[in-house]
């Protein structure tokens, strides 16, 4: 793999950038792999990367029906934090956070992970109780976090209306300084490039149309472009499309795919340095390094694979943003879009064996899986390599929905990201 650096840029500029290597190959798939990863989003690519790099499994294909990183990875509001409530979730997301902290260097790809801090606002007494509860749990789990009062919040975000005369005044917030945002596309591309360099075949524009199941075990996939491709193990990492793949395996998942929308303003001069999230008034916002305000909207109640949702959801979100930041009233919204999020009843992911042998699922990240990308990929790779779930993944078996051992993160995750 060609090493990237500032020096390289200077060198390449002398040859008019004609000699850059491809970031990844465009291979024709082999007949058989050790592991097939279905889905080339951030999680699938990270899985492949760690399989090859950390666990020595290099005979791997990632099969992506569209373009790499074009699913929810392409359309999320890029918030990264690990301040989850329950131990199981907190450990998983913190595992990811630790990987984020050296990711650009590990990948030799600047994913622009920017630890500008995340505020989760509280507007009611119950919000504040929940915030206390979560921050205390974080602290005892070794995750950074503080409870701030309205005055401290105001100092961090001078342009937000923290006064008492709003409909739902800001009473305080939880604050995770290590949290922040990252450049979503770069995450996918960095993992793709790294995986490719370790020999992984990235097969784009190729959809898995069925699973090959023999004697109750998954032995490969059928594709629309290359027919059958065999593998010893298959990992499905297709987010919103997970139920579709599960149906190919003859089972259902405790999942529903909903539209989740986001929007950006036109780029404006930097005015907001941290990430502000409010579950109560239902909006969250950060400002990208290009200057656009990146704003997350709510989830629509109906199932939808259309990558678009309903207009009132966007209206509602902007009402919340203007309520928090009345000065943004004259800023303009540039573009809105949607993704298909795979929501689980307990707002936690599924990292799991399935009723079909050698078929594994990584899904259910719903509205908030971008932040977990490195951790999810790492833990899932370990599981695929061994054929047995990694300890951090164990609590997230799909079978928890049989025995009732849910990890209910609604309070901490909810619609927020």
């Amino acid at each position: 793999m060609q090493h990237y650096s500032g020096f390289g840029l200077i060198k390449h500029s002398l040859s008019h950038h004609e000699n850059w290597q491809r970031a990844w190959r465009n291979p024709t798939p082999k007949k058989k792999y050790d592991v097939i990863v279905i889905g080339g989003g951030g999680h699938g690519l990270a899985t492949a990367y760690y399989l090859a790099k950390e666990f020595g499994v290099t005979n791997v294909a990632v099969i992506e029906k569209g373009y790499l990183g074009g699913g929810n990875t392409a359309r999320n509001t890029t918030i990264v934090r690990s301040n989850y409530l329950w131990d199981e979730a907190a450990h998983l997301y913190e595992h990811a956070m630790k990987l984020w902290e050296g990711l650009s260097q590990d990948l030799n790809y600047n994913v622009m992970f920017s630890q500008r801090g995340v505020l989760n606002l509280g507007h009611t007494l119950q919000d504040m109780r929940d915030i206390q509860r979560r921050v205390n749990a974080n602290r005892l789990n070794g995750i950074d976090g503080e409870v701030l009062d309205a005055k401290q919040v105001q100092e961090l975000v001078p342009h937000m209306d923290c006064s008492a005369n709003t409909r739902y005044p800001v009473l305080g917030a939880s604050w995770q300084p290590r949290a922040g945002v990252a450049r979503h596309d770069a995450v996918a591309w960095g993992y793709a490039r790294g995986a490719d360099a370790h020999g992984v075949d990235l097969i784009q524009q190729t959809a898995v149309t069925d699973l090959i199941i023999e004697d109750g075990a998954c032995v490969g996939v059928k594709t629309d472009r290359y027919g059958e491709i065999r593998a010893d193990r298959v990992g499905s990492v297709v987010a919103g499309n997970s139920s579709v793949i599960a149906a190919m395996g003859g089972f259902e998942l405790p999942l529903e795919s909903h539209p989740l929308q986001a929007l950006v303003s036109e780029p404006i001069k930097p005015i907001l340095d941290t990430v502000v999230m409010s579950n109560h008034v239902h909006g969250y916002v950060s400002q990208s390094d290009k200057g656009d305000l990146v704003i997350g909207a709510g989830i629509d109640g109906y199932n939808g694979y259309g990558q678009r949702g309903s207009f009132p959801t966007i209206e509602h979100t902007l009402q919340a943003i203007v309520e928090l930041f009345p000065i943004f009233s004259r800023v303009r919204m540039n573009r809105q879009w949607g993704g298909v999020v795979d929501t689980c009843p307990d707002a936690c992911p599924i990292l799991s064996e399935t009723p079909v042998k050698n078929l594994f699922f990584n899904c259910g990240w719903g509205t908030g899986g971008f932040k977990a990308t490195p951790g999810s990929g790492h833990v899932f790779a370990a599981s695929l390599a061994k054929g047995e779930m990694h300890p951090l993944a164990k609590p997230f078996s799909m079978f928890r929905f049989h025995n009732g051992a849910l990890v209910d993160e609604h309070g901490a995750a909810g619609v927020a990201h």
Partner: protein, 99 residues
Amino acid sequence: MLHIYCPHCCEYREEEEFHVKGQAHLARPLDPEACSDKEWGEYLYFRKNPRGLHHELWVHAAGCRKFFNVTRDTVSYEIKEVYLIGEKPSVVAASVSAK
């Protein structure tokens, strides 16, 4: 934004008046105690979540407060049919995956 025909009010209304309640025709097991944990879990949480035709339950929350079923394409969002509780859909997926 969806435009939904309420079969009780007998006219189209805006999505804002409705709440969606998920997959339709999920009958509560008649004898819950006879269900295994697995069966109960499946009733509670496991869903078809199809890409394509979907039968779902809606309620005209801000209107007549009646529940009814909708058959909708989850990709195009086209509503193919609206029918009453207790009725069966007439528009169904042409072929359900063999397995």
